[in-house]
Amino acid sequence: MGKPPKKRNLADKVRKAKTVTEIKNNPFEVKINRKKFDVLGRKTKHDVGLPGVSRSKAITKRKETLLKEYRQKNKTSKIIDRRLGEYDSKMAPEDKILQRFAMERQRSHDKKDMYNLNEEEELTHYGQSLAEIEQLNDAVGSDDETEEKGLLSAELTASHFGGGGLLRKKTSGEQKDEDGGQRAKSRQELIEELIQKSKQEKRERQVQKEEAQELTEKLDQEWKSIQALMVKKTSTGDQADKPQDKQKLEEYDMMVRELGFEMKAQPSEKMKTPEEIAREEREKLQKLEAERLRRMMGEEEVRDVAQRQSQTHMSADDLNDGFILDKNDQQTLSYDDGKWNITGASEEEEEDDGDEEPGDSGEEAQSDAEEDEEEVDAEEEEEGEEEQEDEDISDDEEEREDGHSDLESEQSDAEDEAPQEEAKPKKILSKEELKAQQDAAKAELPYTFAAPESYNDLKDLLRGHTSENQRLIVARTQKCNHPSLAAGNKLKLQKLFGFLLDYIGDLATKTPPDLATADKLIPELYGLCQMFPDTACKSLQRILGDAAHGMEEVLEDKGYAPLPTLDMLIYLKLTAQFFPTSDFRHPVTTPALLYISQALTKCPVRSLQDVTVGLVLGCLAVEYISFSKRFLPELVNFLLGILHVAVKDKKSLGYNVVPPFRGIGKHCDLLVLSDPAACNSWSKRAMPLSAVQHLELSSEVDKDHHRLSCLSTCLDLVKRCSLFYKDLPSYADIFRPFKTLLSNHLPVQMLPEVLHALHSDILEAISSATVTRAPLVFEKKKPIPLKLLTPKIVEILDYGKKRGSTREEKERERLKHKYKKEFKGALREIRKDSRFLAREKLNDVMTKDSERKRKVKELLGSLASQEGDWKALKRKKRK
């Protein structure tokens, strides 16, 4: 048993001596695993094994780990190496050495140098004192050195970089030879000599330097005199010369850097001709229209989001490079706390432009402003009317801008410092005066505004301004806080939208309502809405939800609710303007329409004012469905109810009215004329929206006129509805009550002449509609396709693996397999370990035994020899 391990050990030793290639080439070492199939192109790891090598590796490893542990077993004491970083494998060995050294030094320092004050250690670098090197450093700075020995002399490099050891050796060797003779000189003397030498050298260098200085100055002066001849301009004084040089250098540097960092010119898109732009816009509109239609049908499709978002108006001069004029580009006049701000930059610009005509600069500024305006508002020119209005607005602006630029150019025409002087007294002006000025001239409206943080801020901002100015303020606030200018601006503008909505609501609830201002603010709100659809959606949803909730509560309480107030009507109108009303389902317009329908069904009509509100709602409802032509039963019911209210004789009705109206009872004669003669003096006029909130009709004639207005509006709405619903299969059933009512109870003769046409139109439309009623049939089913018999081709990606199982099963299989393998491996390892240990134990026992044997033998031997000696002695004695 003892033999084989010994042998192996020997073999190991031999093997260790050999290199790997040697082992691999040795056919006795290599075991080749037999392959069952030879697969082309497959690479296997395990075709060749080196059992000897691996076995010896395993044995050494065990010796290092297992054997050590075994030997340490049952031993309580052990030796721990406490040297710094001994067990820290992360620490680099050099670091280890360094730190140990440092610690050593510290320890010795603490012990010895406690009371040692003077004797400081000299810091060295490659054996040279650092102090000396510093001295040398001075010498390097001087120009002399370069003259004497080239820039990269051996000394220099040595002193600077510590290199050049070879060269230095030589010199030191020479020195040694030189010094060899004068060994007698003491160290003190030697040092003194050295010092003297160095001082002398220093002095010489000083002198040389001064000389050079003088020479260069002389040269400079001479050059200047020549320069004066060459260039007309008188150069500045000597003293100013140097800083200027420096400045020049900086300027130059800046130029270089600027050029380096400047964006490289990029190919821009071709300038578009007006025709092209027009065509593109038309195409865009067509696309939007198509999309609207698709949404109306309620088909859900994946749409490209980007296209919708990036719809901004492009002017003919737009290079489409995302360049937006912001306040830095535009010369602006601004107020800071009610005081004028005129920046120096703008003055300079004005100065440059001073030669040109004042009007030009004004026009430029104005055109800039216009562009800006257009971009922000994302205006699209569609109809002639709108264009006209746009022009009006811009004309307005033009005037304002012109006035302003005149003012500015006048200032700039004055002397350089004049504007500053002018500005100063203005700062002193009292606030009231400023206010007066603001009121006096539009031109003095500030150009920059901070975005309001709260609703009250906005109110303060807009208070006391005319409606046009309020619009301008909002527009400018919006421009100054464009999201592209700063990070927080987006949030500010989103807030602004909410505040503006509230503001409009407030305007509408005022008595009398300030609708003109609300009207002016619409484009701004629209712009904001286009920018932040989500916020707009949330705000309007909140308003609608609150209103509907309020109505619901009142309904539960009383069973009926009052008609919505003017602000709600305005919100409904805004909803229709900001969001498409034709969508099959829309997060804002669908609830809005539901709200309208709820109001039309649940709110009883009890006064002329209610009738007016109802008609506004009716108009809104008609607008909501004007594009999609959807069926709105509540609207039809309501219009019928309104007409019913105008019928004088309520007996033998051929139709049913739907709640909230009642066939007979109170409030059923609201629109019946008190005096039929009022028909003659009445002419069709638009009713004021404020009538919704407060209707004051003093005389009976006025009341009758209002009644007639309501009636005409109602008839018009009926007419529109009858046109919308012409194609519905139940058209006749829907409009039959109208027919009976108009022909039997409210005949033409009872109406003023203006309404005759309307009346007859409606009746004609109703009777002329001939909807053919095809019996209903289910839609034809799509034929179910036959089963396809072509083979299904599945790509097999992993050969030799089990197929047909799910991924989880596969994973399970894999893990099972792995576990088995690991388990086997561990078992094998444990067996090997125990075998190894047993072997070692046996070894121990054997060595112990042999030792004992040897000792016994020795003892026996010595005893035998002793015995022998003794016997021999005995024999001798006997003899």
Binding site: V305, L544, F579, P580, T581, S597, E623, V636, P729
Partner: protein, 532 residues
């Protein structure tokens, strides 16, 4: 003797107080009266206080009186049996004790009178304490009866007192709803309930007879609120709380028998409904009819007359009567001729707008769930509902459309309404006659549901989607109507408001420039911003 001393001291203090304030503490007066018969005449002070106009004083006096007379009843210090006249008693041959008893009994009666007056007091708190006091008297009287009981069939229940009380409570001039709701807690007790029911019947008969059957809204309102407060026990075991427990033959007492209770309940209601009611009262009765009246009657069929009359009234009252009728038809085998024809004629545009819409559709769903109905009837119903749907709000449409679909599913022969592949030529007129009252003659079978086709164009997406279901064969599974019945417009709106918003919200691309512009400029045509 310490307590006696104390008492003396306290009474002295009270006396002094009386002298000082010229105002007496009713509690101390009561104490004195109870203490000795000497102070018996202080009762007059108490009665005086009782008539005080001050709210607080009156309440205190009421409480004191209740304490005094309850104690006296307990001590049996009140005269028992027929009460002689006061003067007579003084003259008559009675012992001092008997004289005292007669005297006190007279005071007790006058006290009751005053407290009954207080039931009409302006202050609710006074009314309430008066009511409580009277009930306490009733309780005490019940336990310590003032009459000989041997020949009284009502055992020891103070029937007269309760009758008077009920008569007072059912005022013809003031609405006593609050007081009646307070009274409800006494109605929990079986005997009180029983005798109150009897008292109500008497009162109603008397008052209505006097008024010659004309409706008295306030009175009837009071009666109704008292009657609707009565909660009947559903079985004998629940009948266990009593105000007065009879010592002898308790089991034989009428008030302990559920059957007697039911009979009394039934008589009471029939008596009430016999007279003409105001319309709002009609509705209120009909609303509670099916679950709090019919189940507690001993013979529910007696309600048939009332319900059929209500069903013939029309409008909302008919809708409500349906529920009671349904119970009778379903559980009591009522055969109602032309029931479906009437139901058919109940379908009017207002059906979708009234408060009881959910109840109506629930019942209609039950009535039309039978598979034995003739096809013409079901088709007529479907067609009529569809026609009415043209005027309905979206919440109602979401009920009606599944309702119609369910009808078609249950009666497969109705499918012609939405699928008629055989006929070739298109019709010009709808063959259905809306004005025909008889569903059999309405020609609904020859028609199609074009109305639903129309509603496919409805503005609300969900209605439109539901309406579009008729384009394809309907799925077999019936829709559950009950889930949809209670939906409100606001809930419908919230579906859109609360829905997780889409990635991008579509925006209007036509630029808004003016308030009144856009959407066909309808608003601009008829309205302007200002008077100018």
């Amino acid at each position: 003797m310490a307590p006696a001393k104390k008492r003396n001291v306290s009474s002295e203090i009270v006396d002094r107080k009386c002298v000082k304030n010229n105002k007496m503490d009713p509690d101390s007066v009561v104490k004195e009266i109870l203490e000795s018969k000497k102070h018996a005449n202080d009762v007059f002070d108490l009665l005086e206080m009782l008539q005080s106009h001050k709210e607080k004083q009156a309440i205190n006096a009421i409480n004191a009186c209740s304490k005094l007379f309850c104690t006296l009843l307990e001590r049996k210090d009140l005269h028992c049996g027929t009460l002689p006249d006061e003067e007579e008693a003084l003259r008559g041959e009675y012992t001092a004790q008997q004289k005292y008893e007669i005297f006190m009994c007279h005071r007790y009666n006058s006290c009751k009178e005053i407290i009954f007056e207080h039931l009409d007091h302006e202050e609710h708190s006074v009314k309430e304490s008066a009511l409580c006091c009277l009930m306490r008297f009733a309780e005490s009287e019940g336990q310590h009866p003032l009459e000989d009981l041997d020949w009284s069939e009502h055992y020891s229940f103070p029937k007269e007192l309760i009758q008077l009380l009920v008569g007072r409570l059912l005022s013809q001039t003031t609405d006593n709803a609050l007081l009646l709701s307070r009274f409800q807690e006494y109605l929990e007790m079986g005997d009180v309930r029983f005798y109150v029911m009897g008292a109500i019947r008497d009162s109603v008969t008397k008052v209505m007879m006097r008024n010659k059957g004309m409706p008295l809204p306030v009175y009837q309102n009071n009666v109704f609120s008292l009657m609707s407060n009565i909660s009947m026990p559903s079985n004998e075991s629940e009948l266990c709380t009593f105000m007065i427990t009879q010592e002898t033959k308790h089991e034989d007492w009428k008030a302990t028998k559920l059957n007697e209770h039911r009979r009394a309940f039934e008589k009471m209601w029939l008596c009430f409904l016999k007279y003409k009611l105001p319309p709002s009262m009609y509705k209120r009765v009909l609303v509670i009819m099916h679950d709090s009246i019919l189940p507690h009657m001993s013979k529910p069929t007696l309600m048939i007359d009332f319900l059929t009359a209500a069903y013939d009234v029309g409008g909302a009252i008919s809708l409500l009567a349906l529920n009671g009728l349904f119970v009778l038809i379903h559980q009591h085998n009522l055969d109602y001729p032309d029931f479906y024809k009437k139901l058919y004629n109940l379908l009017e545009p207002s059906v979708f707008h009234v408060k009881y819409r959910a109840r109506f559709f629930h019942l209609a769903n039950v009535f039309l769930s039978s598979s034995h109905l003739p096809v013409y009837l079901v088709v007529a119903f479907a067609k009529r509902l569809a026609r009415l749907a043209l005027t309905a709000p979206p919440t109602a449409l979401l009920i009606v459309l599944p309702f119609i679909y369910n009808l078609i599913r249950r009666h497969p022969s109705c499918r012609v309404l939405i699928h008629r592949p055989t006929s070739q030529d298109d019709l010009v007129e709808d063959p259905y006659k809306m004005d025909e009252e008889d569903p059999a003659k309405s020609c609904a079978l020859e028609s199609s549901l074009w109305e639903i086709k129309t509603l496919q164009e409805h503005y609300h997406p969900e209605v439109s989607k539901t309406a579009k279901l008729i384009n394809t064969p309907l799925p077999q599974q019936e829709d559950d109507i009950d889930e949809l019945l209670e939906i409100t417009a606001f809930e419908l709106m919230e579906r859109d408001l609360k829905a997780p918003s889409a990635k991008t919200i579509p925006l209007e691309f036509e630029t808004a420039t003016q308030l009144l512009k856009g959407g066909g400029d309808v608003l601009q045509e008829h309205f302007c911003l200002d008077l100018l």
